[in-house]
């Protein structure tokens, strides 16, 4: 336990520094234009031929056909290339682990933690994790990263990060709260969905009481909440050192209840893991009691069965892209057409990075949804819709509309140059820019590849080949 505390302390200091620097201008941002490329803007439209993208001061200035590169600006010939905004991966565990089965390197779950909703991944995120590097080389520039519900139905607060090769990783800490309300939530709640819903309602009521300072709970913060980036949600005062006291009749620790205060008042989105149609209905109904909840559904394998209700509620979905098996009794109606049908019903849908082996499969999953549009009886997406489902739509769901996942004017200079159609499995990035800064694409894998390009050890062992 002591070792863990030490680890937490050593991690926290640099993370705070990173956060403080996150919105200062990138030092090495280049001004450049890419010309003659096939350009997809991420906004749902189809790709444009012979188009130009202009980046200045770390931001997109223009993207489209008929745009001339500004005089004197460094120009990259994009002939034969595709240019797009960087991929936005949601939901991920990027930066939270090195080796899945090496427990001490893995911060995805905290099953023995005394805390749940108060968990905040931002100080634990490691931008040097190989999975961050590998994902960056695959064209992912932004991600929402979060720990999984494990000590309770609440997983804690996820962060928005960029995948740049610098220490300014966390763009927005405490960007959203995660809760599980299906089979998984039932298990964590003591064995049933019934208990999960009781726990959930109680938690939100305790949070509301705490936030409103009513009931048995009183007290004021002894110092104001700190703000780090100017863009993060303020920490509730009761999460800071204070004199707050609460009554005895509470289930949540003060930290957990305070962490849910911004959820109850709608200032922090609540990501709800849920799969079954009836569970989705039950989750949507919670808004009657807690009308300010800013919900996002995650998973939603049976979403197509209740697509109209989801659309009417205006709740976006981060859906598993290609699940088509009854993996559990809450996914009996799973089909690859789920996303296409929900989109047809008017639901805003992003593809869930957590539904695949690695976030770098996002373009492949999107491409499969395009393929599906040609199959009789199936519902897929157009190319533009599919690409939006891994760029602008997840950015919008993350509260970053117009900033990430798009080439619209003023957006961050997150640009990927691909050697072909980015949704095609044979394509890969040739250059990745984040905030206008060209990124290194090497990692442990590329180093191994170069070492073992041949097996010649006639002069020295492979260990000298680096």
């Amino acid at each position: 336990m002591k070792a863990l505390n030490r680890l937490a302390r050593t991690m926290a200091a640099p993370a705070a520094l990173c956060a403080a620097l996150a919105f200062t201008a990138p030092v090495a941002a280049q001004d450049f234009a890419i010309t003659n490329a096939t350009v997809a803007t991420g906004d749902g439209s189809e790709p444009m031929q012979n188009a130009t993208v202009v980046v200045r001061g770390g931001r997109i200035v223009a993207a489209g056909s008929g745009i001339a590169a500004p005089a004197g600006m460094q120009t990259v010939d994009g002939s034969g290339r595709w240019v797009t905004p960087g991929i936005v991966a949601t939901v991920t565990d990027l930066g939270l682990w090195d080796v899945g089965a090496v427990q001490e390197s893995n911060d995805i779950r905290s099953g023995n933690s005394p805390f749940s909703a108060a968990l905040d991944v931002s100080p634990a995120i490691n931008p040097s994790s190989q999975h961050v590097l590998v994902s960056r080389a695959a064209g992912i520039t932004r991600a929402a990263t979060v720990s999984q519900p494990s000590s309770s139905i609440f997983g804690g607060q996820g962060a928005l990060i960029d995948l740049g090769a610098d220490a300014n990783t966390v763009t927005r800490p405490r960007a959203f709260q995660m809760v599980s309300l299906g089979e998984g939530g039932g298990r964590l709640a003591g064995g049933s969905r019934v208990s999960a819903h009781a726990l959930f309602r109680n938690a939100l009521l305790e949070a509301r009481n705490l936030a409103e300072g009513t009931g048995a709970i009183s007290g004021t913060a002894s110092r104001p909440p700190e703000r780090r980036t100017g863009d993060d949600l303020p920490i509730d005062p009761r999460l800071a050192d204070n004199q707050t006291e609460r009554g005895d009749d509470v289930l949540l620790s003060r930290f957990d209840a305070a962490a849910l205060a911004p959820v109850v008042n709608g200032s922090q989105p609540l990501y709800v893991e849920v799969e079954r149609a009836s569970d989705i209905r039950a989750v949507l109904a919670l808004r009657e009691e807690f009308p300010q909840l800013d919900m996002v559904l995650v998973g939603a394998s049976e979403g197509w069965l209740v697509a109209d209700a989801i659309a009417a509620a205006g709740v976006p979905v981060i859906a598993d892209g290609l699940d088509d098996l009854p993996e559990s009794f809450e996914q009996l109606a799973a089909t690859q057409s789920n996303i296409g049908r929900m989109v047809q019903a008017g639901v805003k849908v992003a593809i869930n990075a957590a539904s695949m082996e690695q976030p770098r499969y996002l373009p492949q999953y999107a491409g499969n949804l395009v393929a599906l549009s040609r199959m009789p009886g199936a519902a897929g997406l157009s190319w533009g819709q599919a690409f939006a489902a891994i760029t602008s739509v997840p950015a919008e769901i993350s509260g970053m509309a117009g900033r990430y996942g798009t080439l619209s004017t003023g957006a961050a200079g997150d640009v990927v140059i691909w050697d072909g159609d980015p949704l095609e499995v044979s394509s890969a990035p040739v250059a990745v820019y984040i905030d206008g800064v060209e990124q290194p694409l090497s990692n442990h894998q590329t180093r191994l590849r170069e070492r073992y390009r041949d097996l010649d050890e006639s002069d020295l062992p492979k260990a000298y080949d680096w």
């Binding site: 089965a101 999975h131 089909t335 044979s426 590849r449």
Partner: protein, 463 residues
Amino acid sequence: MTASTLRRPLANSIAVALAAISLAGCASTSDEPTRSTRVASTEVPYASTYRAYPGQPTALLGATIFDGEGGRIDNGIVLFADGEIVGVGPASLAIPAGYARIDGAGKYVTPGVIDIHSHLGNYPTPSVDAHSDGNEATDPTTPEVWAEHSVWPQDPGFSRALANGGVTALQILPGSANLTGGRSVTLKNVPSRTVQGMKFPGAPYGMKMACGENPKRVYGGRGRAPSTRMGNFAANRQMWLDAQEYADGDRKDRDLAKETLAGVLDGDILIHNHCYRADEMALVLDMAKEFGYKVTAFHHAVESYKIADLLREAGTCSAVWADWYGFKMEAYDGIPENAALIQNGGACVIIHSDDENGIQRLNQEAAKAQADGRRMGIDIPDEQVVSWFTLNAARAMGIDDVTGSLKAGKMADLVLWNGDPLSVYSRPEKVWVDGAMMFDAMDPNRRPVSDFELGQPGEGDVK
């Protein structure tokens, strides 16, 4: 690689006793001790009852054909009838009378996809504890168990593999909790009320072994052997010593475990060895030499690229994912160029799934691995990449003389894709098994629906 002498018994695939079939070539390494010939049991228990379903003589016209053996024909013709491939050739190929013609212009034909590593049926969906039938994790050495006794034919995953993956044959393996997990079973991907009705007629058995982390974690975690890699090897070597003693004896006492091991030493049962690390695979290859058996394929094999030379010399295939890595310590050095580097080193590549979702996209995995190779300067033609999920898998499963490629006389197991199978935008349009159309994207009734799905949400959906 394997010198399977398996013969397809009859045109309509009647089950055959397989144990009598010699696969001696599989184990022929120069330093192998000579084993006396044994009279194997002439009767296979739980024998296949699979029969090909009716089909009609069919000509696929105008498609691009990848024959699975490295051949490519543009605007070609594939003929099949009575369950067999009749001919494959250019547009000038004569079409016999009575053949139904299917226009394949703009489309592609490949042999049926074959997955050498699947747990459909023994880890079926729904993935509830009651369905966890893949690991007899009560003893680290269980050669006596047979995967076929765990297979639930109603696993909905079979239908997804068929419709979305074009899979016509697959090997179901025991899991990797044990050092020796038991016998595998090779299936035709055809719905059946019984597993016997799916068993691939005449296919040899395989035996699953596992290196590394899994066995030592499962058993070491219980305070018993093996808890280390050296413990893994000690248990394996003692197993083979005991097996040799049994095999060299009169074999009159029935012993399920020893019978399987003797079958491996005889070369009748093929070794499929879960193994990630290069150094560990090299040790296993030496263990195989020590006891005179052959490792047919290493599965997962994320570090095969480090020892492609050793694998080429041993004639051992690597059954791999395109780019899985990092989920466990022994997978930390996985790289996307693995398959291309293995192929470039002259060793055999197979793309496998080990996953009920991945099995639906083996063609895409192969395409990814091909592209990652191309980017480092290793150019492997499409027609060769197709063999990674067809003929190479069939070879390592010992069924390559009856399926795995589009060759006259072989089973008419084939897929008509609506586009290039190495593109993300293509999907199977029609799938035939032994010349019977088992899936047709254009006909909602040519889509299997398992018992489990009847009367439940999504029954009969496109999935």
